[in-house]
Amino acid sequence: MSFFELLSWGLWDATRKRKLIGAAVICSVPVFLAIIPHFAHAGFNPSVAYDTVFPLAVQQFAMVLLCILYGTNAVAAEVSGKTIPFLLTRPTSRVSIFLSKWAAGTVFSSAATIICALLVALVIYGPSGIVGSPILRDALVIPVGVAVYMAVFCCLSTLLTRPSVPAIAYVFAFETWVWVVPGDFIKLSIMTYVRTISLHSPPVEQNGLAELVQQMRNSTVSMTTSWNTLAVILILALAIGCFAFSRGEYVPKEDTT
């Protein structure tokens, strides 16, 4: 079976009704949040609104949540759904199956996140202002972030029976609060590099704790470092995932007791 056939099957899998509904719900949240700045008392500034909603609601919420939904389910859902024996007793290489699942998840989640970002830009800038908005630049960077997160979560999916738990903890506990933790912990957050390449600086509260913490950091992340780091994470996660999936035993839990 060619890789593209596997990919198209992966895309079919990604667009199954239940997953599609989940993706639609996730993507609708940033769009609703984008409406809120229109009602701000201090006057509506589209650039400020977009620079707040895009990094927080699109990147750090919708994009990563879609990656969790599709990435952590890549292998674990086949095991819990007991369909894994159909795949692993076939002569198609496990590496191809793993990579196709990652690729399908990346393609679908990127498309969904780009649509979400486009709708957010449309709500904030309006149809006439969207041409001058940074949406095009962001749309090009979204697949990079998705590919990296997806690789990490797909990798987790090959290693753990419940990969969504550490994935959610990493994204919504560690990555959310690491911005206000002094020191270089921020460099352990994938989002730091994703935001750097998308030219969206982290939200800093004027004269607040986050600004104070930023001043205490003795180094910043450069664009080159970000690209290199993301590339290394991507390759490493895919390599570990391929290795684990090609050597691991994946049997539904009830079958082993």
């Binding site: 079976m1 009704k17 759904g81 369909t83 159909f86 795949l87 076939r90 198609t92 079958d255």
Partner: protein, 306 residues
């Protein structure tokens, strides 16, 4: 075709199979045992889903774990009733065929043939979610045979099938075996196995309790003499003569039917060879001869309890 040498498999503290050594040739072999006996574990080792904790499993001379060359020639029908529910039966079998490297040009005909074999052509284009248990079972068998494998492994394939479906599937398996292929069928229902094959592997609590022909296995159980049931014109007339034979241990008459007697023998072959002369000498006609414990139920009971 399949060689298993000292294979054990542990799931943490739980043992799946324990020091199993056997070989499975071409033809139909039944893997028999109660639930939890280790049948599915053995099948997972053969199909390369699990690695043995100790020992070795070889299929077509190679370790089957994630081995494309071996898996190319294996058709596997799992016990679990799980599918991609939104697919139609035909889509599912086609996907499995492509994963099994059926060439794209042969795909439609291979899928059609497999669906015909399990009598699912008419319902093949409706979604699997709407299938009955029997239909799902048939589709599982279709996906296992679609690439015409040399080794077919069916884990409890008769579950959920109606009597007609069972007969059809048994016939399919026998045809497959007659083509010189190897079929391994697991079951915990003894009479089903008995109708399919005489060659069994009997598992109990992870151990291989017995292997080979049912009758040969039965012959090994010396402490449980064979019972043979005879129906003659007058059982009480032939009874004393039968009891005189060295091979016969006991004779019992049937109170309700004066024509019937049941005897116990530790040497059935010897008894059968002597029976012809005895019948002629007694001038009695034997209208029916049967061995009530020469079946799997008895063999299984003796081995497990004994």
């Amino acid at each position: 075709m399949i060689e298993i040498v000292g294979a054990s498999r542990w799931y943490g503290q739980v043992i799946g199979i324990n020091d199993v050594t056997c070989s499975i040739p071409t033809g139909l072999t039944a893997l028999l045992g109660q639930n939890g006996a280790g049948k599915s574990t053995l099948i997972k080792l053969i199909t390369g889903q699990l690695k043995p904790t100790t020992g070795a499993v070889s299929v077509f001379g190679r370790n089957p774990f994630a081995c494309s060359e071996v898996l190319q020639n294996i058709g596997y029908c799992p016990e679990t009733d799980s599918f991609y529910e939104e697919m139609t039966g035909r889509q599912f079998v086609s996907l499995m065929a492509r994963l099994s490297r059926v060439p794209i040009n042969d795909l439609a005909s291979a899928v059609q043939y497999a669906l015909e074999q399990v009598q699912m052509v008419e319902r093949a284009d409706t979604v699997i979610a709407s299938y009955s248990k029997g239909m799902r079972q048939r589709i599982k068998v279709a996906q296992a045979i679609v690439h015409d494998p040399k080794l077919l492994i069916l884990d409890e394939p008769l579950n959920g099938l109606d009597p007609l479906g069972r007969r059809q599937l048994m016939s399919l398996m026998k045809d497959y075996a007659n083509k010189g292929r190897a079929i391994v069928v697991s079951s915990h229902i003894l009479y089903e196995v008995e109708q399919m094959t005489q060659h069994i592997l009997l598992l109990h609590r992870g151990r291989l309790l017995a292997k080979g022909d049912i009758r040969e296995i039965r012959a090994l159980i010396d402490q449980h003499p064979h019972r043979i049931r005879l129906e003659t014109e007058n059982a009480r007339k032939i009874g004393p003569r039968i009891l005189e034979l060295d091979s016969v241990l006991a004779v019992q008459y049937d109170r309700r039917d004066p024509r019937v007697l049941e005897l116990e023998t530790a040497a059935p072959e010897e008894f059968y060879s002597q029976l012809g002369d005895l019948v002629l000498a007694a001038d009695q006609e034997v209208s029916h001869l049967s061995s009530p414990d020469n079946n799997l139920e008895s063999v299984f009971g003796y081995l497990v309890q004994g």
